[in-house]
């Protein structure tokens, strides 16, 4: 069956994030009292797996092998079944 993983890749805490700081500056310029912004990546991965357990295992491997570099990033994800919506047929 088809799965959708929404993978959140975040910069590790403590690593300077100039992109986030710049965005925070933009928000402050608009008058928002923003303490901090951290920029990250959202990756929506659609793929096939026979069951949830195997889908989880596949996402974990995608993250550790490619999607996040553990030197600077962490990844977490939400996994959901991505079945096409049933189409009602009107007679």
């Amino acid at each position: 069956m088809r799965w959708l993983a929404e993978v959140n890749v975040r910069l590790r805490p403590g690593i300077a994030d100039p992109e986030g700081q710049t965005i925070a500056g933009g928000l402050r310029a608009l008058g928002f009292e923003v303490a901090d912004v951290r920029a990250g990546k959202l990756l929506r991965v659609t793929f096939e797996a026979v069951d949830r357990e195997r889908a989880e295992s596949a996402v974990a491997q995608m993250c550790s092998r490619l999607l996040a570099n553990p030197v600077m990033e962490t990844a977490d994800w939400e996994l959901s079944a991505d079945e096409p919506a049933a189409v009602g047929i009107e007679s």
């Binding site: 690593i15 100039p18 992109e19 490619l66 999607l67 600077m72």
Partner: protein, 242 residues
């Protein structure tokens, strides 16, 4: 005098300094061959260069996709066997993603792409690429990158320093390593490091762009020409070169 060093210059989709390396081959005395990233071996190469550019569009992270290109398994084996490897700019980023060199290159702290001549302090003058330089001297090379901020965790930095593997640091014209002379926010002003054995060099600057006085300097020539003398001292490499 043995033959010219055979240098494999890797080409990924998006690499842009490969032709510059090929172009200066005559000046440095190399027998250069361009090697497409899908090749699974490096042939009879005496040395490997990973040039600058934007391999695979720098998508996901710089070097993240390139490190899984088929040719990289051969590069890892070549490096592990003690072969001379040079990764410049994007090549350095690929070497860190592949785990051949420690750390990572992050977005410049000011978020700007920086293209400029940059003084560098030579910390160690040894190995296949820096053997013709002098420790403590200041050289000038072009930099051209948006992601050059070297980062590694504190224990890794300590080990790099303790084992003298930080070989180049960003400096001012007098050779002083200061925050103002740091063009990208690299930790400890690191511009170049080598692996444990010293045969793999990764650096953000572009030695191939500093090979003619007419374009601003020839310090890069001294780096690229270092290979020949180093190869002559390597028993295995010398045998291959007969």
């Amino acid at each position: 005098m043995s033959r010219a060093p055979r240098v494999a210059v890797l080409v990924f989709p998006g690499t842009w300094s490969d032709r510059d390396f090929a172009d200066v081959a005559g000046l440095v005395g190399w027998d250069t061959r361009l090697v497409w990233h899908t090749k699974v071996d490096l042939g009879d190469a005496d040395a490997v260069v990973l040039p600058g550019g934007f391999a695979h569009g720098d998508h996901l992270r710089t070097g993240a996709i390139a490190r899984f290109s088929p040719v990289m398994a051969a590069v890892e084996a070549f490096a592990a066997a003690g072969g001379a490897v040079l990764g410049s700019c994007n090549g350095f980023q690929i070497l860190t993603e592949a785990g051949i060199l420690p750390g990572v290159l992050l977005r410049n702290d000011h978020l700007q792409f920086r293209c400029d001549w940059q003084p560098l302090r030579v910390e160690q003058a040894a190995g296949p690429w820096l053997g013709e330089l002098n420790a403590g001297e200041t050289i000038r090379l072009p930099i051209s990158h948006g992601e050059g901020r070297y980062y590694a965790e504190a224990p890794v930095l300590e080990e790099l320093e303790a084992t003298r593997r930080v070989v180049l640091r960003y400096a001012d014209a007098d050779g002083s390593v200061t925050p103002d002379a740091n063009p990208n926010g690299s930790l400890r002003s690191i511009a170049g490091i080598v692996n444990e054995r010293g045969n793999v060099l990764g650096l953000m600057p572009h030695p191939e762009r500093a090979t003619e006085a007419e374009v601003g300097g020839t310090d890069g020539l001294r780096i690229l020409r270092g290979l020949d003398a180093w190869l002559a001292l390597q028993p295995a490499a010398a045998e291959r070169r007969l």
